[in-house]
Amino acid sequence: MMALEHITLIIGSSLILLGLWGLITQKNLIKIVISFTLVDAGIHILMISLGYLKNRTAPIVDGTIDNAVEQIVDPIPQAMVLTAIVIGLGITALMLSFVIRLAKDKNSLNVSNFKDLKW
């Protein structure tokens, strides 16, 4: 039987694999950055679904919740993902700025043209 958590686990894992494939095969620097954000999003979905508990609701205690311990899902993975999203945004912005500088130096976005560190 396919439960809710399995669906999200499959979506998260396939996003990670897709992003990994992009990281390995793509030559365009912008596409490599996009692949990285795909891996990032996949990891976030995996973490959220690992914090899911069967038949429970969001960790927000309002009038409908009498006994929080019995009724809410784990709040810690959600807080961790909130942190991870912001850090992922910072890393993506930094990578894009590097891409801008690299493109300005070499006049190209193809990663094969950057051979300065090869020997």
Binding site: K54, P59, A68, D74, P75, L89, L96, I100
Partner: protein, 232 residues
């Protein structure tokens, strides 16, 4: 050909690794010890209806401080990287009439929504980072609608610095008046579910929201102000 096969084998291997880890996964039936502590005693200790906010701002407040400083570092490195070069000015085009008119209508609504999201961060899904991102989207919309006017960057720099300093000062006040760094009980916790409750969480989130909004706006304007690339 061999290269592609290697790639496929690599991806398949990684997929198999994920599969073995997750195939027999079943969602747990009950909270683990630390989460059930947060769910049980967190309500009285922190007073925030949104337990995620309680974890982010109070129990793991140091993580959030690190997160805020990472954003600050990103904004400063971007400014350092992109503004330094000298290049020809980009000829700016006037934006279309539709964008100008729509932005005048939408900006106040988006700003109000962003402020709502970070003031209600302890009650509903939302908080300083999300609200700050919404604020930044309104400011960037204003910038896109009138690209020739430009943006006064010193306002953002001042907002950012003041918010960061206030965040840390509130944390230090927690050491003096309550249990420790970023303890939220320096003012009464109040009753759960009220707008003014949860101690200092709403105050911290207001400053985090202003800081994140200013930082994201300056990141985007830095990306836009960068010297023209010679890429065709």
């Amino acid at each position: 050909m061999i290269k592609k096969l290697t790639f496929l084998a690599l991806i398949a291997g990684f997929g198999y690794m994920l599969w073995t880890g997750l195939a027999k996964y079943n969602a747990a039936e009950s909270l683990n010890r630390i989460s059930s502590y947060y769910a049980q005693d967190g309500l009285e200790e922190v007073g925030a209806a949104n337990l995620v906010t309680a974890v982010v701002v109070t129990y793991r407040g140091l993580d959030t401080l690190g997160e805020v400083s990472i954003l600050f570092l990103t904004a400063s490195i971007l400014g350092f990287f992109l503004v330094s070069g000298k290049g020809p000015k980009i000829p700016l085009q006037d934006s279309s009439e539709i964008l100008k008119t729509a932005s005048k209508l939408l900006e106040p609504i988006i700003l109000l929504f962003g402020i709502y999201v970070f003031i209600n961060g302890h009650l509903t899904p939302g908080g300083g980072f999300q609200g700050g991102a919404i604020l930044a989207s309104a400011l960037i919309l204003a910038y896109l609608a009138n690209p020739k006017e430009g943006i006064n960057k010193s306002i953002f720099r001042i907002t950012e610095s003041i918010s960061g300093v206030v965040f840390i000062l509130i944390g230090i006040l927690g050491i003096v008046l309550a249990g420790g760094f970023l303890d939220n009980r320096i003012i009464p916790v109040g009753s759960i579910g009220d707008l003014i409750s949860a101690g200092i969480i709403p105050i911290i989130y207001i400053f985090v929201g202003m800081k994140v909004g200013a930082e994201l706006t300056s990141i985007v304007t830095n990306l836009k102000h960068s010297p023209k690339n010679n890429v065709e």
